[in-house]
Symmetry: C2
Subunit: 231 residues, 2 copies
Amino acid sequence: MTTAPPTLDGPRSRDGDAHARIADGIRRGIIDGTRPPGSRILQEDLAARYGASRVPVREAIRQLEYEGLLTVVPNAGAWVSTMTLAECEEIYRMRERLEPLLLSYSAPRLTDDEIGALAELADRISDTGDDTDAFLDLDAAFHHASYAAAETTHLTDLVVRLWNLTAPYRRSYVSSWTPDARRIAHEEHHLIVAALRDRDTEEAERVLGGHIRRTRRQLARTPEIFSLSAG
Amino acid sequence: MTTAPPTLDGPRSRDGDAHARIADGIRRGIIDGTRPPGSRILQEDLAARYGASRVPVREAIRQLEYEGLLTVVPNAGAWVSTMTLAECEEIYRMRERLEPLLLSYSAPRLTDDEIGALAELADRISDTGDDTDAFLDLDAAFHHASYAAAETTHLTDLVVRLWNLTAPYRRSYVSSWTPDARRIAHEEHHLIVAALRDRDTEEAERVLGGHIRRTRRQLARTPEIFSLSAG
DNA sequence: GTACGGCTGATTGCATCCAATCTCAAGCCT
DNA sequence: AGGCTTGAGATTGGATGCAATCAGCCGTAC
């Protein structure tokens, strides 16, 4: 029984996005922690869960493999990718260079209202205290909103992809931050907003680069959250 | 007759890499100009060409869509992606920031022999005159060799992917270079080698960044090689 | 003469089916 | 007793078949 009952969500209309729905579902599970790194991905499971056959499931798995979220071993199966500390630092170094570039595309196009919304987000982040989940949600919302005006294609996609790759580990290390480290992050957010308000794109880029760089250096102090093998 | 005769290349062993072979083949065709931007990709064609069924073909198409090389429209088909000038400049700005980073990973690990080989490559590039094909091949070999010692994963893959994305257009605009522009590129290659010889990674990064930046600015002078639509 | 609706062939999206391979544990040999 | 072999079950890789959709063409109505 791999097909969904036609009564549930229409006459199984063939809109050609089955693979995309499935990929989105798996991706969401990896990002929100439901599927932790190392957990097995079974084609049949997914087919049943999404009311599809294994063909679109395999397309979704292939896509996620190329996004780096899944590791596929021929004839054996697929697992949620694990990351070493070195790999994670590599991602952060890429973000350190790419996100300021993306911000430089977005900043001149942000409206005053959008910058106001960013200021409010920065305030709310400062109020999260030691609620890690709230911080993670708002932090992601803040940075993505700051990039929202960029009319780029590949760069936007890539930055999202890099965020997703480290998502499974972000919760672990953010929860290890000291109150001081958190306070610095909050201040950096406000500094970014201030630079955007001043329409000083270069300064915004500089602060953002430092923000990511500082996070990377803190990351190196919590090596225990990464897999020990495959180093 | 979509399956290959078992006598040709063995008993159709199921090594789980059919999709990879097919993707490599399409990718090669796009890079070498056999499949120009905008050309149609037919699943059945590829299945017949590679002696496979459409299932692995579809997985390959998904991968290439994700790489940005193909554009897929549900229920309609797949085409080799076309690029606007703005998109191409975006890619070059990403390369401007990422390739120096990759070089900074590679440079300290390059052996003296490898740097010697780079010097020889730089010399041969200087000798290509106005032979665009020879220049393109050697230029790619030079840059990739300069990155060869980097022990990075995502960054290496990404840089290769960005090169591939602009490959269909590189021939067009390189052939439009003036002798002067070519000479400057040759000199930059030699400057990179010199910096690597000096073990001055920062200088090598700086020259490489300028090299890519200069290329991007020349690119903007030949907008006619890009598709006019989808701007 | 032009616009609209239906038909046909080509192509894609997906389900189903079978074979190859892996996992893992039980049994055999040394 | 311990290592190697072997079988069954689970799982993946790939082929085939069918329905949905699309592009292009023709005929008809106005």
